[in-house]
Amino acid sequence: MRELTIIEAMREALREEMHDNPDIFVMGEDSRIGGSFLLTLGLFDEFGPKRVLDTPISETGFIGLAIGAAMSGLRPVVDLQYGDFAFCAMEQLAHNACKLRYMSGGQVKVPAVLHFPTGASGRGGTHAQSMERYFSHFPGLKVGVPATPYDAKGMFKAAIRDDNFCIITSHKHLYGSKGRKFLVSEGVSLTVPDEDYVVPFGSAEVKRQGEDVTVVATLIMLHRALDVAQKLEGEGISVEVVDPRSLVPLDRDTILESVIKTGRLVIVEEDTITYGWGAEIAATVAQQALGYLDAPVLRVATPDVPMPAAPNLEKSLVPDQERIKQAIYQVLGR
């Protein structure tokens, strides 16, 4: 057992899988020197130019290429500098990555991984979007949102071994790349076991047990929710925090089980609120656990505006501990 950052954990997963399977190769902009968040740091020296490829700035080109390579038997891993740039390759992703199998009557598989960082980090509208939401609406894709090093390594491995096109993303502030201080809530373990393991898609985890209210949150919002839960313990409020870990497939059972236990639900997402994944969870609970609810479901999210660059403006929009706390008070009637 060692302590790793999320990016170290992902890199370790990729390196181990590349050792085990010669069909895996990785490509992206500046991959040779590690890529923007250092996913591939050191891999060029280890695996050489055949398996670690620098690409031109050409998202449609290399994502389309990855799809073709995956269809004919390889297992490409694509590393994007920013999740937002996936929009440049939207046709490839929305059609080829997730529909070629279905449209061909099951003749092909597209076993590829697309990794990118997501979320707001002071860079403004085109470098701040919560991209995981968009891809959660395409049947045929899987979307993983690991928020701890353990989950990041296990889910990265699960994605590489999966026979479908998988997206893996974490929040820019969580990676811990380039020696930057990364955000993590107190009490969250950074340890990663030495032995091989996977975190399967579709397996939510209760990150903190509680009795009074369920908070469902991902990525950086998960850590904020855990911070709030810890603080509220002092006020006698017991908060259960559930991390879906993947948006597609979504482990509805674990969420429902928690809500049935607590009777109250707050959903926290960094994304803009309208048509977000939080609405999907709220609808699921409304359909399957309405009778167990003691209060209306609340969503805490970013208002429907593009993300501004100024730190104080960004901070004013993105859910913080205070807003999460107020939402919890509200569902508890305090």
Partner: protein, 322 residues
């Protein structure tokens, strides 16, 4: 290779395939009007020499990527007409089990990769297939068909650049039928011929008469040899003409009668047919016999496809994930 040296068997094979595609699509047209085919269809009448000439230069384990106008590509690479009819009729035994329709045909066992009909989309995908062949040291190539309408799309630019950059074994076949729906290519591209585009990527290229199947075959054979030999991708522009409209409800009236008549006089099927007779490869009677046998094959394929049931509704939920 001189024309005279062309193998007789090869000439007959190409004539038969072109006749099959022509008669298949004429049948599709008829059956569409009679209500057997849902959705829409894009016919390639007049363009048959391109897929036939190109696929004849390929090996069985090479692959192709068809376009939205892809019946000819699939038949040329060996898809059984019955599987294609069944797909167009939306039947269970269609090549894509009824989930693809005319626009999304494929038969991976015969090297026909599932088509994405969105113009330009398959260009980087073909690069990836070529990448896998090279990565694994396989002696195979991918042939990617696209129309003149694709040359102004982003994916074409990005895909050609990567294919050239990484010396990938891909034959890019620009099937220039001169119209993007109603828009003549001259009105949307200042660079002619379109094969000149390849130079921007450092890619070898050639333009050929796409209505002469022998010319297409010979050019493709040479290009395939270079691609297979590790010289990187090749851009083969085949200039042809869409005899009909863009799709079923398009009479194509935006084109001069003179222009259409000119191209009808260059119809690739009579050209190879006359040549086969002229060169003494087949007698007129033998050609008629070949045509009869094609029609019998088509009739039997139609009957076979019509006997296939519609897909089980439960199958609509299957094959989303592997």
């Amino acid at each position: 290779m001189t024309e005279k040296m062309l193998d007789h068997e090869l000439m007959v094979r190409m004539l038969r395939k072109m006749t099959l595609i022509r008669h298949f699509e004429q049948k599709v047209n008829e059956l569409f009007l009679r209500g057997y085919i849902p959705g829409t269809i894009h016919l390639s009448l007049g363009q048959e020499a391109v897929p036939v000439g190109v696929t004849t230069a390929l090996r069985d384990d090479d692959v192709i990527l068809p376009t939205h106008r892809g019946h000819g590509h699939a038949l040329a690479k060996g898809m059984p007409p019955e599987a294609l009819f069944a797909e167009l009729f939306a039947r269970q035994d269609g090549c894509s089990k009824g989930k693809g329709g005319s626009l999304h045909i494929g038969d991976v066992t015969r090297g026909i990769m599932p088509a994405n009909p969105v113009v330009g989309s398959s260009v980087p995908v073909a690069a990836g297939i070529g990448f896998s062949f090279k990565y694994r040291g396989q002696d195979r190539i991918a042939a990617c068909f696209f129309g003149d309408g694709a040359v102004n799309t982003g994916p074409l630019h990005e895909g050609l650049n990567l294919a050239a950059l990484w010396t990938l074994p891909v034959l890019y076949v620009c099937e220039n039928n001169q119209y993007a729906i109603t828009t003549p290519i001259q009105s949307v591209s200042l660079v002619q011929p379109l094969s000149k585009r390849a130079e921007a990527y450092g890619m070898a290229a050639q333009t050929v008469d796409g209505n002469d199947v022998v010319a297409v075959y010979q050019a493709a054979l040479e290009a395939v040899g270079r691609v297979r030999g590790g010289e990187g991708p090749f851009f083969l522009e085949c200039v042809t003409y869409r005899q009909g409209g863009h799709k079923r409800d398009d009479p194509g009236t935006y084109r001069d009668k003179e222009e259409v008549d000119h191209w009808l006089s260059l119809d690739p099927l009579p050209r190879i047919r006359e040549r086969v007779v002229r060169d003494g490869v087949l007698s007129e009677e033998q050609v008629l016999e070949l045509e009869r046998s094609v029609d019998e094959e088509i009739e039997s394929a139609v009957q076979g496809a019509l006997s296939s049931p519609p897909p089980d509704p439960a199958s609509a939920l299957m094959d989303v994930y592997a």
